[in-house]
Amino acid sequence: MAAVSLEITDEFLKLLKAQDQDAFSELVRHHHRQMIYVARGIIGEAQAEEVVQEAWVSIYRNLIKFEGRSSLKTWMLTIVSNGAKTRLRKESRQVSFADVEASLSGLSEDLFNPDGHWSKPPPEWDISSPDRLLEESQLKDCIEKTTNSLPEQQRAVFVLREIEQQALEDVRNILGLTDSNVRVLLHRARLKLMQVIDRYQETGSC
């Protein structure tokens, strides 16, 4: 379900610190999915839900101590990330960066001539303003489906940067990736989603 993001006001924070159930429910409603994506990006599908459940317990207990040195969102994402990394260390597992290493750009080679210039230049988009693109409900569904089907690390990086608006440094720290891995994953996610819009502009469907 797509929705507008939750605004954390001082008043809302006070309610959270007082363990108000309705306020906490809203917090869970707006951040649970994003936290799942982050956990999956670090530890994989199988244990992500458990890690996030533990993180919510920790968040609930420790909200009273939240001092606002970072945003609440970053603080919560760091708790999930630390939980997932701890679990990973306990199991002496390494995450696979095969997806990052497989291809640097994610661009098809046949888009370019041997001299590196476009052989198939990007086509002009008929719908070319953000507000008009956002009016296309079918396109929004296509983008949501594609985002959900991105490889886990790509999706985690994309969600943190584009949806949660985290700085690249924070994305790197939260996911425990290198700066170059984050940039490659983000670039490839953007290219995949751009291809979805390209196709929609051309065919009117996903």
Binding site: A2, S5, Q21, V28, H30, L104, D198
Partner: protein, 74 residues
């Protein structure tokens, strides 16, 4: 002059300010001369805005309820 392939492969580094002054200068001079790469950059920028705006997902009532119960029980 940089190739179009280089521009397409490094568009995110450019957009995220991850280039030094000279890299940025060379990137911009290519963009000024190449309508296709200008369009590519514009499309990537639009993609970021649109996909970031339409994929904020909320949890279902059941998911929220399950977390609340677990938090209370812990």
């Amino acid at each position: 002059m940089l190739s179009c392939k280089h521009i397409a492969e490094n568009a995110t580094d450019y957009m995220e300010g991850r280039m030094n002054f000279f890299q940025r200068l060379k990137f911009r001079s290519h963009l000024r001369a190449c309508v296709h790469c200008g369009r590519f950059l514009r499309h990537i920028g639009l993609t970021c805005i649109v996909s970031g705006s339409c994929t904020h997902q909320t949890a279902t009532d059941q998911e929220v309820e399950a977390i609340l119960e677990m938090v209370k029980a812990a």
